[in-house]
Symmetry: C2
Amino acid sequence: MGRIEYKNNDRFLLAVDCIIFGFDGSGIKALLVKRALEPEAGKWSLMGGFAQQNESIDDAAARILLNLTGLDKIYMEQLYCFGDLDRDPGGRVVSIAYFALIKIDASDNDKLEEHQAKWIDLKKLPPLVFDHKKMIKLAKERLQQKVSNHPVGFELLPHKFTLQQLQALYEAIFERSFDKRNFTRKILSLGILQRLDEKEKTSSKKGAFFYVFDKKKYKQLESEGIQMI
Amino acid sequence: MGRIEYKNNDRFLLAVDCIIFGFDGSGIKALLVKRALEPEAGKWSLMGGFAQQNESIDDAAARILLNLTGLDKIYMEQLYCFGDLDRDPGGRVVSIAYFALIKIDASDNDKLEEHQAKWIDLKKLPPLVFDHKKMIKLAKERLQQKVSNHPVGFELLPHKFTLQQLQALYEAIFERSFDKRNFTRKILSLGILQRLDEKEKTSSKKGAFFYVFDKKKYKQLESEGIQMI
DNA sequence: AAAATTAAGTGTATTATCAACATTTAATAT
DNA sequence: ATATTAAATGTTGATAATACACTTAATTTT
């Protein structure tokens, strides 16, 4: 019984690779590191690591994210399992990719430096090791899909944000522009934003109101399904 | 170089489990087997098996499907990687679930009997081993999502089908009814169905025209995105 | 104090899509 | 010739999506 079964089956190295997205006000960025291990050491790579026997795969992903950024309780979602034979020239490694959304300035800069990590705009990606480019491409598509139906975009913004920041985020994610009037009306009509009595004044004389995402109101609406955009 | 890296990392058993969907004209069915291995041998289970070192994970899924049904070149899609610590009481096994869509009467009956496999309506699922119920639930949600935007429903129908069969399929997938007039108009307006000069006559005196999915027309439209329903 | 500047904030008209609803038609059976 | 059966089809109203430009609030300059 128990751990004695399945003795004669092949065993695999399981990597977990994290596509970590951030937003700096203009473009969507991915957090990339200089790969520490051979093969391909020193080249640009997603942050990754091997799963361990004593942790779930989700926990492994959270551990690897924490290790790089110092952050926990981060929005994270499994993306896909990459299982091609020759995807890693260092050996047969099956990789489970996760994507995470973080506030770009929340991470621990010392840790980032330790791993030689940099935020790099999705439109200016350098060559990446293995199949990591494919992973980022898929993650971007999934982010578009996710952000259409779920209020996860706020994970990429400061706690307080203006409508123009929110619109800039959506425009960056979808690589297209939206009409300001239509966008504002649509978003506000969802009833999940709360306006503060406080304005952002650096970018205009009039100032733009700050908003916060109202999680409680969202929870009430969640079951019906919500169309963000 | 090559296979000498990564020596000291944990290795995992990788299972592949297949959610195989079929449609019998009224309900969506899953192909379930009586589990052959301990633990939980003899209980209802998804068809599964262990991945091998010499095959990609996609290939492993195709092999397992072929093994049960005798079918290849089947619509198949990776669903999710299930990696919880205790999901399999027989040991630490990470499972990658795939879902497949097949024509219910196309599979090899001898093979099905070999594995004591049965088509079971999603609404009448028996208790299943491990986390297989969760897998089916997720697969059903993914099927709904997939079939909304992609013309994969046809994989579940005979080559020639009537509009009422197609509607019955969508009603089974979404567990709701559609207005016949609206449904017909919407589907035909996509321009991806070709009407044959042939009628299905068993269920009415007038007879209902057969249609086939026109893959060529679809390919032309694919890039724009298509809203099936 | 008045005028100019800047980006924020807002309304309307048009079009397209979705949803609700019942009658006519083709083929066979009586 | 009539009855039967399910298939095929059209219209209307409601809602959502799109396109488009002026007014307003606050500060800066004259």
